[in-house]
Each structure stands twice: as C-alpha cells, then as structure tokens.
C-alpha cells in the first residue's frame, strides 16, 4: 500500500522534478559564475541587514524594540522572503513569460498552469541571501532573553513556514495581477518588495494606512513582527490580543486565497473567457 502510494507520488512529481532538477544543474554548471551569483546575492542580503544596524546607531529603540529584538523580526521576515524569492520569485515576472510565449507552451503540457509556472525555475543563488536571514534570526534568538518552552519552538516553526507561504503567495498574486495590469510589474513590485521591506521593520511605528495594507490586506506583519513579539513576551500594539502572533497560518491561508483569486482572474483575462 505504502509502496504504491509512494510510486504514484513519484509519478505525479516526476514532471516538476525533471524541470527543477535541470534548472538547478544548469545554474551550477558554471562554477565561477555561480559563485559570483552567490556572492552578489549575499551582498544584497548583507546590505539590507546593514541598513537596519545603521539605523540603530542613531537610536536605541524603534517602536519599542531594541536592536537585538529587531534582529529577530528582520531574521524571520528576511529568511522567509529569501526562501520564497528563491522558489517563487520568477512568478512575478509574468510579462517575460508572455513575451517569450512560454505560457502558451505551458498550455500544451498536461499539468496545471500555475504549478508549471512555479516549478519552471529556481534561483539557487538566493540561498546566500537566505543565509543572511538565517544568521540574523539565529543571532536574534540567542541574544534575546526568550523564555523557551515547547510552545515557543512550535510558534517559531509555524512562523517560518507561514511566512514563507505568505511571501510565496505574494509572488503568485503579483503574477496573476500582471496579466491585466498595465505596467503590472511596477505596481506589484510596490507591494511585493515594499511588503518585504515593511515586514523587516517594527510595525509599531507604522501609521494606520500602512497597517491596513501590510497589516491585514497583505499580511506582512505576521511574517516577522507579531510572531517575534510573542517569542519576546511583548504585548502587540493597538490593543491586539497576545495570541495574535499565532495567527501567521491564517495570514498564509488568506494570502493564498488572494493569490489564487488573482491567478484565476488573470488566466481568464488571458484566455478571454470574460472575467
């Protein structure tokens, strides 16, 4: 029984693994160039982190968080973003797929379009950037005075998985929107990359409109800030309940609801079936 289900899973995954495997191999084929890619990606991550540390040279605390606490927020959000960027980042580059006719080619293959798009590429160089996030997170976890319990471990794991899903959903949302938005990439970048930036900051300093956009509609605040507050034992702002840090999975589900709706509308628009 287990054997047959493993075998059928392998059959189901074979098309996607074949493509992803070839992408990974081709990126590593030229060692020197891959090393440079990793290095440049590492630099980008390091600069993002440096920005935060520069800020804390002039102030001791921002929005009630000191530098070590911010490391935790930054590390969580940036790790999740980098991993999502590695595996989903190409989805918000839909116009180039449209121009090259790659999307039409997807239509001629017996797999769902969105799954084909997601598994059509993987950017291994972004592992270097994820490493920056992971280091920041680890340092944040060590330096902060966290009262560890099994619940803390569970929340941390949930936060990372959900944060990854939130950012992945953002990329898919952007891809769907780019079917029908004129200058789509510019518009969606504001939310995808603006969202990443917002996610690595203490959300307690945000104003209300920002909370509306990145607190709830695109739930960036759940990818770093709110789970970090719970880990640290701090109370969330705006009188939000303490347990709100546990709602990251709900944020992930919400983002994917948005993402799939956007994709659906986008594909309908492309096929001209009426929206």
């Amino acid at each position: 029984m287990a054997d047959t289900s493993t075998a059928s899973l392998r059959t189901a995954l074979r098309p996607y693994l074949a493509v992803l495997g070839s992408r990974a191999r081709s990126q590593r084929a030229y060692r020197a160039s891959f090393a440079l890619d990793l290095l440049s990606s590492l630099l980008v991550g390091a600069i993002e982190l440096a920005e935060v540390s520069v800020l804390f040279h002039s102030v001791d605390a921002l929005g009630g968080l000191d530098f070590t606490a911010i490391l935790l927020v930054f590390g969580l959000a940036d790790l999740c973003f980098s991993l999502a960027d590695m595996s989903f980042g190409h989805c918000d580059n839909l116009p180039s797929y449209l121009r090259a006719g790659t999307l039409d080619v997807f239509y001629l293959r017996p797999q769902p379009l969105l799954l084909q798009l997601i598994t059509s590429d993987i950017s291994l160089r972004r592992l270097a950037r994820a490493a920056v996030g992971a280091v920041a997170l680890t340092v944040g976890l060590v330096l902060n005075d966290i009262d560890w319990s099994p619940a803390h471990v569970l929340l941390l794991a949930l936060a990372i998985v959900s944060g990854y899903a939130v950012f992945a959903g953002m990329f898919v949302w952007a891809g769907g929107a780019q079917f029908f938005l004129v200058e789509g990439a510019e518009t969606t970048n504001a939310f995808v990359y603006g969202g990443r930036y917002a996610a690595t900051q203490p959300a307690s300093v945000w104003n209300r409109p920002l909370w509306a956009v990145f607190g709830f509609f695109f739930p960036m605040v759940f990818t770093g800030f709110l789970p970090a507050l719970w880990l640290l034992g701090y109370a969330p702002p705006y009188g939000l309940p303490d347990w709100v840090g546990w709602c990251a999975p709900a944020a992930a589900v919400w983002t994917w609801t948005l993402a799939l709706a956007s994709w659906r509308v986008g594909v309908r628009h492309y096929q001209g079936g009426g929206g």
């Binding site: 059959t11 074979r14 098309p15 693994l17 074949a18 493509v19 070839s22 081709s26 090259a100 006719g101 790659t102 039409d104 080619v105 239509y107 001629l108 293959r109 017996p110 797999q111 769902p112 096929q271 001209g272 079936g273 009426g274």
Partner: protein, 318 residues
C-alpha cells in the same frame, strides 16, 4: 467518415481593442465551421492577421471562443486541456518548447517526464526521432548554439515526442534554407505514413502545402474562403506558374506564345519571365516554343506563391 479529429461549428472569436479613445470589436475568427478527419493533412493558409493563430489557440484551449463550439480529439479544449495535451503536439515557429541553456537531449528527457513516458517509450521514440530528423550530431549541443534549421528539427521532435494523434504546425519552415525545409517535409510525410498522424499546418510556403497537404483551407478575415484540394485551388484562382529563361543572346520580348503571358525582360531580353496557365499548357511546351526563337541556357519554374493564391481568392470574394 469516422469521428472528426477537429470539429468546429460557428466558431467565432472577437477581441475588444482600444485605440485612442474608442473601443471597437475585432472579429478574428468568424463563424468558422470545419471538420478534419483523422489521418488528413491540411494546409491552413491565409494572410497575416486572417485568423490562423487565433484558430489554433482555440483548438488547443489557449483561447476561449466567443461563440460557437470546438472539439479537438473528441475533447473540449478549454475544459479538457490537460487530457488534450496528451494527444496534441504543437510546433510554434516563433516560440520555443526547448530549454535554451540545455543540450537538446536534456530537453527531450524533461519532456518525456512531463508527458509521463515510460523509460522504454522514451528510449524508442527518442531514437526514432533522432534518426529520422538526423539530430545525432547536435544532441549534446545546448539549444542556444543550434542553427535555425537544427533548432526547428529539435522543436518538431519536442512536439512529437509523446506521439500525438494530431500535430499542429504554425509556420514550421519559416526562415529555413531549402535543404532544411526538404528534410522537415520528408520527416512529416514519413511520420504520417508510419503513425497515421493528422497534420494541420499554417504556412506561407506553397512548397509545404504541395508536398505535405492533401487538403487546403483558406481563411480570409476570419471566414473560410476555400476548402478543397490544391489543384482545385489553383483552378479556382487560375494561378499561373512562371517560367524564367536565361537566353544566349538578347532577343525581343517573347510574346505570342499560346496560353502564355510575357511578364518582364532583363538585360535587354537576356532573362525573360513568362507566366503560363498550368491548366492549358505545360512548361515543356512553353520551353519548346521559346527554343524556336532563341537558345535557352538556363531555366527555372516558379510555383504560384501562396500570397498570390490567397490574394486572388480574396479579390474574387470582394
């Protein structure tokens, strides 16, 4: 007649376009009804923008029809797209199915996985295609380094790897040299003979239609303008063939040869072009008549080109 492999009824596709301030509706395919039987080879021709690509996109489920119905391989293309993909192979002359940075062989391996071919199916089909399309010499070459002719053979093999019942080719020979065209046509003829594959191809090359197709569909502004065989098409439009002769010395314009029209003279009459009605006379008879007046050094016969045929059909309908 067995169940059609392609069946459309009143198939219509409109696009809403916005230019400047006004919105208008553009009808790309207009009330198209046609049937293609399994095993047929059909040339689908028409001017640029006549609706060929739109039809293909509706046949393969990429576009949703505005009105009318379409059935491909007995399936509804949009709703049953994934099942249909297993039975149809499409070659888009302008867009690639191959992975740019990978060797051709690797692309075939991935496509075999995508179509769920077993190891033995993959091996035997790849071997067959490599041999028939003479691809062995460039199997290990990354796609981006291939010549256009090689890449096109790779594209055709990629579209046919899963042994589709229906193969749709959109401008497969565009930009190819004579030898590459010839190879590709021979392959398609052989593929059809051995596997009974149905072919639907759009082309601007009359040679493709002559050598590959036993039926021609002409589409004009989204509507079917002709459906029949090629000789019938030539008869309908009275397409002329052109004999070009290079003469040993300059002579006057070669007029007055029966069923023949003098078109042009170059080099004071050293090279002359004569159009003749292929129904009424033959190239040999025209040549004999020319030889009575001057010594012929060299000659070529130009086939009626597809633009010309299409233009005549269009003119007759307006």
């Amino acid at each position: 007649m067995s169940t059609p492999i392609i069946e459309t009824d009143g198939l219509t596709r409109e696009f809403r376009v916005r230019d400047a301030l006004r919105r208008r509706t553009l009808v790309a395919v207009d009330d198209l009804s046609l049937r293609v039987a399994p095993g047929e080879a059909v040339g689908y021709i028409g001017a640029n923008g006549a609706g060929k690509s739109t039809t293909i996109k509706m046949l393969t489920g990429i576009l949703v029809p505005t009105r009318g119905s379409v059935t491909t391989c007995g399936l509804r293309p949009v709703q049953d797209r994934r099942r249909l993909a297993r039975q149809v192979g499409v070659v888009f002359g302008q867009r690639s199915q191959l992975w740019w940075d990978l060797p051709v062989r690797e692309s075939f391996r991935i496509l075999a996985a995508i179509h769920g071919l077993s190891a033995s199916e993959e091996a035997s089909r790849t071997e067959e295609l490599v041999e028939r399309l003479e691809m062995a010499e460039f199997l290990a070459t990354p796609v981006r380094q291939l010549s256009l002719g090689q890449r096109m053979r790779g594209e055709v093999a990629a579209a046919l790897l899963h042994s589709p019942r229906l193969v749709i080719l959109d401008e497969p020979t565009i930009g190819l040299d004579v030898l590459s065209k010839q190879r590709l046509r021979e392959f398609l003829v052989a593929e059809r003979r051995t596997h009974g594959t149905t072919l639907l191809l759009t082309t601007h090359d009359m040679g493709d239609v002559e050598r590959l197709c036993d039926r021609v569909l002409v589409i004009d502004r989204g509507r079917l303008a002709y459906d029949g065989d090629l000789p019938g098409l030539s008869r309908t439009v009275g397409a002329e063939r052109v004999l070009v002769v290079d003469l040993a010395e300059p002579v006057d314009d070669l007029t007055g040869i029966p069923s023949t029209r003098h078109l042009t003279s170059e080099g004071h009459g050293l090279r002359q072009r004569l159009a003749f009605d292929a129904e009424a006379t033959t190239a040999a008879r025209v040549l004999a008549a020319v030889s009575e007046r001057a010594e012929v050094l060299d000659l070529t016969v130009e086939e009626p080109d597809i633009e010309d045929v299409v233009r005549r059909i269009y003119a007759a309908r307006r």
